[in-house]
Amino acid sequence: MVPLSYYLVLSGILFACGVAGFLIKRNIITIFMSIELMLNGVNLSFVAFAAHWHALAGQVFVFFVMVVAAAEAAVGLAIIIAVYRTRETLNVDQVNLLKL
Amino acid sequence: MPIWIYILSSVIKSALVLFILLTAVAYTVWLERKVVGHMQNRWGPTRVGPFGLLQPAADGIKFLFKEDLTPPHVYKPLFLAAPLIAVIFALTSIAVIPFGNSIRLFGYDIPLQIADVNTGLLLILGITSIGVYGVALAGWSSNNKYSLLGGLRASAQMVSYEISLGLSLVGVLILSGSLSLREIVDAQGGHFWGFIPHWNIFTQPIGFFCYLMAAYAETNRIPFDLPEAETELVAGYHTEYSAMKFAMFFMAEYANMITVACLATLLFFGGWHGPIFGPILLQDLLPVFWFAAKIFVFLFVYIWVRGTLPRFRYDQLMAFGWKFLLPLALVNLIATAIAVAW
């Protein structure tokens, strides 16, 4: 038997790692990946809470999160490709002009 | 049963299945060379052993003893990891495949299946979807434009056809109402008014068609073997590979073929169902035989198709996948749903 708090802590750490990745990584794709990491952390806490409160709604939420993440990945990567076409770089530090 | 027997049986089954599988892979290669040879008015392998039956062994030895060279400028970790990924996932997916009903040994009835997961089908889908990485990473890591193109094609193609694959299976799932392969097979027992076996192929012909197409694309087989189109990209994603690493990709491909064949058998052709007769032992072994026979048929069809059909162009491939196969699968799904709802 694993206490609920373990799951929560794990998901929290994953989320924090995601944020940290967003903060310290330069590559726009990696940053995007850290977003996915955050979403995964949240999903874990969803499922854990679902199991804790015996509410399947939590798992349904996970589905929605996944779907949204998928859609986001599609659009986001398309944007990344478009950005790369115009800027010839994937480094967010060099993509700091608000328009070009 | 006690836990140790459970573990023991699992280990034994795993070893057995792995052995059978590898052998099957090897002889599928032999079979392919033979059949295609005859289709092309050649003999195929004849020298090594009678009818070249020992050819696979010779190939294996050759692969093993060839110098395993790693080109410079490749991205080493992934270059090494890619074939492993490919072959491992290819071999893993066999684990949830049931070969037949449980048999009684030493007073315990042991299911002819390594792991009876009640969402086995999903597991197989997931594993195959992960199997993409093998090809993609191989193509990328070997730092070669042909490989890269091959990898890109492979990943795009596999991801695209995965959808049709999944959708084509949903019809069967609706009919059988379960994700467990064993239950699906059980649902196909019996006959329509006496003589027509109660197989999904008769209720899901379109689904089967979609599945077959998608499966061929998933396994990068002709007519969908764009990732290794030798006329355009020297050898596609495994251009830079040689010796055992290349062998791994090879094995992975044929193992995937076998997995696909198994799935087709289980989902559409009633798995191990077939006429049962004779003494007890025979009665226990016949289902396995029927199962193997059906798989053989599918493998033969694979080879047959390879010998017959030309290769698509890439845009044709994508157009076929997105504009024809996917809508067809959707229509089939909807039709099935309506029919079941009645």
Binding site: V19, F22, L23, I24, R26, I28, I31, V92, D93, V95, N96, L97, L98 | -
Partner: protein, 661 residues
């Protein structure tokens, strides 16, 4: 109201003329412009005649509903027209005199560069004036009121290239604003207390109220405020100062707007709301005093003026004073009667003066005229008639109306012999300065410059009458003379309608056989005839004095002026009223606006507030701008920091709740 009179046509016709001339006139020829202008004003006149003829057969007052205008809760205002004897008379006077002056203008303005503009304005004026007259509620009346004010501004400043004209227009407008202010407040009071602006409704609600003999009350306040408005529009003390300056406008304008019609709007308004005034004796007294003083005051100024139009302007003011005196003593019908006759002869005087000016080529100074009766006999004759009429020589129109007023002032219960006396003195002065004008202009020998420049170019190039050099004075064209003759005829016979109180009886349905009537019966006929004789005698005396001073002894006036120098100077400068006003109101206003409002409030407070706010925002954003570096990761950093803060805050809240539990 069985028959439908289509009153709405009367104002709308001139409006159509305005539209056509205003939009198309610039391109079209003078003939076309004058044709349009004359047609529409004439059509309005003819329709007014038709209405008058029909009105005799139907029972007045007649109301004509046009459209709903304002409907807010219980309060509602409509576009509607109201016709009774009073507005009928005004209707005929305005349209008739207006039409004649239109005709006259064709000749007078012919060479003006912006001829079409003039007729556009004239038609527009007709429209507004008729709206004012035919309104059935105060608000619609106020529209006309403002409208005529606007047109007066436009026409006084018609030659706006000339500084004096422009400033005169502004002066007229501003002074009228003061009056309108009072008028508006009166309207608000009416709305508040009577919940309507419709004449009939308001008066029905006022009727039961008892006269506020004991001190001032609501009605007194309303009446006084209305009087303020009337004083503004009709140039009464203390708001008369704009009228003399308004003479900067073309002479037909002076005739139409500043003599015949617009300036009498005040009188019309006062007598229209006589119901209110009759219940506010205090206000009535104020009206009477203002009227009387104005009459005398303006007349005295008139004596010494040398500009022919200025003389007429001051005489107009003083005649208006007469009318207000009449209203003040409750003799509204007498006031209206004098309004009508005054419209005739004063209009005639102005037009004749215009003809004279036209004759001598834009010259307005009487000292440069003289001996013109041989040059321009028709003008002389008509102007003579008008002078006799205004001076109150029987049987001319002025005699009847002025005598009526004096008699009422004496006999009415609101009146007293003081009004009568002052009125009499004014009558004397009036006849004196009018004949002075006549003699200076037409007797003696021509003092004007021959052929060379016509003195001060008061009308500059814009007047268009110095285009062709005047060899010697010449008679005006027929188009100008015909209106003169018609008006002369009216000035002769116009007064006869008043014989035997017929005018009173005609108007009695409006004013009721009110106080004035009763008083008239009270006093004996004998006194009336005696007073009548006295006034005639006074008028003749004025005539003789003028003849003595300006014909037989032409040099005497200078000596007299020299002898009583200070007084003369004072009067010559119109008692320095303009200067006093300038010192009292204008300069403090300008100074205050400059120092406090502009430099102080606008510059220091408003502008600085805005500018400082903008600068502050600029500086702050200069700092904050660095936050938005466009760098994704720094955004993320801000978000993370903010998230941490939010989490801490929520936890703190949670603590508080936990502690609370």
């Amino acid at each position: 109201m069985t028959a439908n009179l289509n009153l709405w046509l009367i104002p709308v016709l001139p409006l159509a003329g305005t539209a056509i001339n205003g939009f198309l006139g610039k391109k079209s020829s003078r003939t076309a412009v004058s044709a349009v202008g004359l047609f529409f004003s004439g059509a309005a006149f003819l329709w007014a005649l038709k209405v008058a003829w029909q009105a005799s057969s139907i029972d007045l007052p007649y109301q004509e509903f046009l459209a709903h205008w304002i409907r807010s809760g219980a309060f509602s205002v409509d576009f509607a027209f109201y016709l009774d004897q009073l507005s009928l008379i005004m209707l005929l006077v305005v349209t008739g005199v207006g039409f004649l002056i239109h005709i006259y203008s064709v000749g007078y303005m012919w060479e003006d560069p912006s001829y079409y503009r003039f007729f556009t304005y004239l038609n527009l004026f007709m429209f507004f004036m008729l709206t004012l007259i035919l309104a059935n509620n105060y608000l619609q009346m106020f529209i006309g009121w403002e409208g005529v004010g606007l047109v007066s501004y436009l026409l006084v400043g018609f030659w706006f290239t000339k500084d004096s004209a422009a400033s005169a227009g502004k002066k007229a407008f501003i002074v009228n604003r003061i009056g309108d202010f009072g008028f508006l407040i009166a309207l608000f009071l009416i709305i508040q207390h009577f919940g309507s602006l419709n004449f009939t409704q308001v008066f029905d609600r006022v009727h039961p109220l008892a006269p506020e003999t004991a001190g001032a009350g609501l009605l007194t306040a309303i009446a006084l405020l209305l009087m303020v408005g009337a004083a503004g529009k009709s140039a009464q003390i203390p708001l008369y100062v704009w009228l003399p300056d308004a003479m900067e406008g073309p002479t037909p304008v002076s005739a139409l707007i500043h003599a015949a019609t617009m300036v009498t709007a005040g009188v019309y308004m006062v007598s229209r709301s006589h119901v209110i005034f009759e219940r506010a004796p205090v206000a009535l007294t104020v009206v009477a005093i203002i009227g009387t003083l104005t009459a005398l005051f303006a007349a005295t100024i008139g004596i010494v003026q040398t500009d022919i139009k200025k003389v007429l302007a001051y005489s107009t003011i003083s005649q208006l004073g007469y009318m207000f005196m009449a209203c003040g003593v409750g003799a509204f019908s007498a006031g209206i009667f004098h309004l009508m006759t005054h419209a005739f002869f004063k209009g005639l005087l102005f037009l004749a003066a215009g003809s004279v000016i036209h004759a001598v080529g834009g010259e307005q100074d009487m000292r440069k005229m003289g001996g013109l009766k041989s040059y321009i006999p028709w003008t002389f004759m008509t102007m003579g008639i008008a002078t006799l009429a205004i001076s109150g020589i029987p049987p001319f129109a002025g005699f009847w109306s002025k005598d009526e007023i004096l008699w009422k002032a004496f006999s009415s219960e609101h009146g007293s012999w003081i009004y009568w006396l002052i009125g009499l003195i004014t009558a004397f002065i009036t006849s004196f300065y009018m004949f002075r004008l006549l003699f200076m202009t037409f007797w003696g020998d021509y003092r004007g410059a021959q052929g060379d420049d016509h003195g001060h170019d008061s009308h500059g190039s814009s007047h268009g009458h110095d285009g062709h050099g005047h060899g010697e004075p010449h008679e005006s064209p027929m188009v100008m003379l015909v209106p003169l003759m018609i008006l002369a005829l009216l000035s002769v016979v116009g007064g006869l309608v008043g014989i035997g109180d017929r005018f009173d009886h005609f108007l009695s349905p409006v004013f009721g056989t009110g106080i004035a009537e009763a008083a008239g019966e009270a006093a004996s006929k004998a006194t009336e005839y005696i007073l009548m004789g006295i006034s005639v005698l006074v008028a003749v005396l004025g005539l003789l004095l003028a003849y003595f001073l300006y014909v037989s002894r032409p040099h005497l006036p200078q000596r007299i002026a020299a002898s009583l120098n200070g007084f003369y100077e004072t009067v010559l400068h119109k008692y320095y009223v303009d200067e006093i006003y300038a010192a009292l109101f204008v300069k403090p206003l300008i100074e205050g606006s400059t120092q406090i409002l502009w430099q102080g409030i606008d510059r220091k407070v408003i502008d600085d507030t805005i500018n400082n706010a903008a600068d502050g925002a600029k500086h702050v954003s200069d700092e904050v701008r660095h936050m938005q570096s466009g760098n994704l990761r720094s955004y993320a950093g801000w978000i993370a920091a903010g998230a941490a803060c939010v989490i801490a805050w929520m936890l703190w809240l949670g603590m508080g709740l936990g502690a609370g539990k």
